[in-house]
């Protein structure tokens, strides 16, 4: 037996022992904030009803490139760290029981027998242990779902791991590590994870955390903050990093100032008679629209994650401290979610004529949170954010911002698409304005055009399948419409609209349309021959006619009409008949 590796049964005590660095005592580890989450993660039940992890294999001498880069950048300057070991440990986890002899036999066998193949396929991932106060380094774990609910994690990438010459079957994951406070805080760790996926999407380079902090450059605040030791990056600095590695960004960062739009409109109503939705307002039914900002966070997170584009999610704690995590997946909506969503927004939806969007129903997202661990689940709700299954008590927290790295050629972002969904809903759900019933339910996301085409090839649209033969940009926005069940649940697919993210036509960047049933096809035919839009636009005479003279802002109506006409022209071009 040599000391190159060790094999241990998976127990809480052994996990404590292997997760500590040289500079820590084993008894300190259970008090680390990440430990309960990691232990809970590995003790989730497998198909056999027993805990997933059964054996730990420790590779005692491992060279981690990302830690070595950080070491070269900062640790080497420290006199106190002159004897710091540059080498790390790598801790591997398996869902199969085996001993040292079996492992040794696996590594030195010329060919693998059946049991050895089984052992390799029982691999659950690894955690690199750095020789510093913040030991959890590069971590690539297999996703273990916490419940039988359906989870979707499109931001994972295929990983090839080699253990003493043995190739592990490639598995999906996304790299994670806890922050090394000397070289970066939470935002650096989250960005480091996100950029791993971006490197696969956009062929950008990967950088170590310390290099990312350097790329962030000076902060633009009045009080300059030093880069090292790092006290946290802000959004401006994160954008600088993206720009320097050849990417762009899409930001959501609404003001928290409370603008009670409903009340303002009621006040106006008391001053002078107005038309439109305000006449239906009751003073007791006013809404603080800021309270509904959580819907936009859900919508945007989902729209990008679904196609494999992670975001950095900024959250605010009640003590006015801020934290950043990396989004990687979400839980599909369940029957309960439909009901909860309906209860939460019913009055709001009625008052503000707006579409029902599946994006807004998704409330549970999976994040890499360097303070808790990989694959942390957080629910974004009307009452704030809630951690779903970790044992850490979380104070009241709320969404603060969302930063999504995107390709610099993309002009049409989430906001444009959401706006187009609202416009399509107005055209396609005409009875909504009269009966307040929802005919179609919408879902929109960004994806690779090849993924879209693969889906189309397997489907049976009544119109538009020939788009398979057309050239498309590498990535496309997709807007799917579904016939509603009980005005809230998505049923059969009705329509798919394909939009070009690089379009220079912001009014109507639609490039393809697929129709899945004859009733939808008939609605589109009516739109194509309907002159109402043009006649209405012709009749528009601002400030010279009652009742329009009192309208303070009707630009949205004009935008809608312009879209209607552009969409009608598009249908004409596509020969919808």
């Amino acid at each position: 037996m040599n000391n190159k590796f060790e094999v241990l049964p998976f127990t809480q005590e052994n996990l404590c022992e292997v997760l500590r660095s040289e500079s820590q005592h084993a008894e300190d580890i259970p008090h680390k904030i990440q430990f309960p989450h990691i232990f809970e993660y590995f003790t989730r039940k497998g198909d056999d009803g027993l805990q997933m992890a059964k054996t730990i294999l420790v590779e005692n001498d491992y060279f981690s490139q990302s830690f070595f880069d950080d070491y070269k950048t900062k640790h080497i300057d420290s006199y106190s760290a002159r004897e710091l070991n540059k080498h790390c440990k790598r801790v591997h986890f398996f869902s199969l029981e085996f001993n040292y002899t079996a492992a040794e036999s696996l590594f030195f066998s010329e060919s693998l027998n059946k049991n050895q193949v089984k052992l390799l396929s029982a691999y659950l991932g690894y955690i690199v242990i750095r020789p510093i106060q913040y030991p959890i380094g590069a971590t690539i774990l297999k996703w273990i779902p916490p419940t039988k609910d359906k989870y979707n994690l499109p931001c994972l990438v295929k990983n090839n791991v080699n253990l003493f010459g043995r190739k592990i079957n490639p598995y999906s994951s996304l790299i994670f590590q806890e922050q090394d406070k000397l070289v970066g805080a939470c935002a650096t760790s989250a960005l480091w994870s996100i950029l791993e996926k971006c490197s696969r999407n956009f062929k950008t380079m990967n950088y170590s955390p310390s290099r990312l902090t350097e790329l962030a450059g000076e902060n633009t605040n009045n009080i300059p903050r030093r880069l090292f030791p790092n006290s946290g990056l802000d959004i401006n600095q994160l954008c600088s990093v993206l720009k320097r590695i050849g990417l762009d960004w899409d930001i959501l960062s609404p003001s928290n100032e409370s603008e009670k739009m409903g009340e303002q409109i009621v006040d106006n109503l008391n001053d002078e008679p107005q038309i439109g939705f305000t006449e239906h307002l009751d003073e007791s039914e006013t809404y603080n629209t800021v309270d509904f900002n959580y819907l936009s966070f859900r919508s945007k997170l989902y729209a990008y994650i679904k196609g494999g584009f992670p975001s950095l999610f900024g959250i605010r704690f009640s003590d006015n401290t801020y934290h950043a995590v990396a989004s990687i997946g979400y839980r599909e909506v369940s029957e309960n979610d439909y009901n909860n969503f309906n209860n939460d927004v019913e009055g709001f939806n009625k008052q503000f004529t707006r579409p029902i969007i599946v994006n807004e129903m998704i409330d549970e997202f999976i994040f890499h949170d360097d303070q808790i661990g990989p694959f942390t689940s957080i629910r974004i709700t009307k009452n704030g954010l809630f951690s779903v299954w970790n044992m850490i008590e979380i104070a009241k927290i709320e969404p603060h911002s969302l930063l999504t790295p995107i390709h610099p050629t993309w002009i049409i972002n989430h906001q444009h698409i959401e706006d187009i969904v609202h416009k399509l809903n107005f055209i396609m759900n005409p009875s909504e304005t009269v009966q307040n019933s929802k005919i179609l339910i919408w879902d929109f996301h960004l994806t690779k055009s090849n993924t879209f085409k693969t889906g189309v090839a397997k489907s049976k649209p009544k119109f538009g399948k020939e788009c398979l033969l057309n050239s498309l940009p590498e990535y496309v926005w997709l807007i799917d419409a579904y016939h509603s069940i009980n005005n809230v649940k998505a049923g059969e697919k009705s329509l798919t609209v394909v939009l070009d993210p690089t379009s220079i036509n912001p009014i109507c960047p639609i490039i393809e349309i697929l129709v899945y049933d004859f009733s939808t096809l008939n609605i589109l035919k009516e739109i194509r021959i309907n002159n109402m839009y043009i006649e209405t636009l012709r009749s528009y005479r601002p400030k010279d006619k009652i009742p329009y003279k009192n309208m303070k802002d009707n630009s949205r109506a004009i935008e809608q009409l312009k879209f209607n006409i552009a969409f009608r022209t598009f249908l004409e071009l596509k020969k919808i008949k």
Binding site: A190, D234, M261, F277, Q371, T433, I534, S539, Q560
Partner: protein, 57 residues
């Protein structure tokens, strides 16, 4: 060509059949869009102060 003429005629017929009342009703429904539009504008308006707050947890 014949099909195009037919389609054009159908559109003209449709245009002639649109009454001022229906145009006004359409306007009224369009006006309802403004409220939600303002909410979205508010959400997507970037708060400049938030851009320089460090994430420091």
């Amino acid at each position: 060509m014949a099909k195009q003429t037919k389609s054009k005629k159908a559109m003209e017929k449709n245009a002639n059949s649109i009454s001022q009342d229906s145009i006004q009703a359409y306007w009224d429904s369009l006006m309802k869009l403004n409220a939600e539009s303002k909410r979205l504008e508010q959400v997507y308006k970037i708060n400049p102060e938030s851009l320089s707050i460090p994430f420091n947890k």
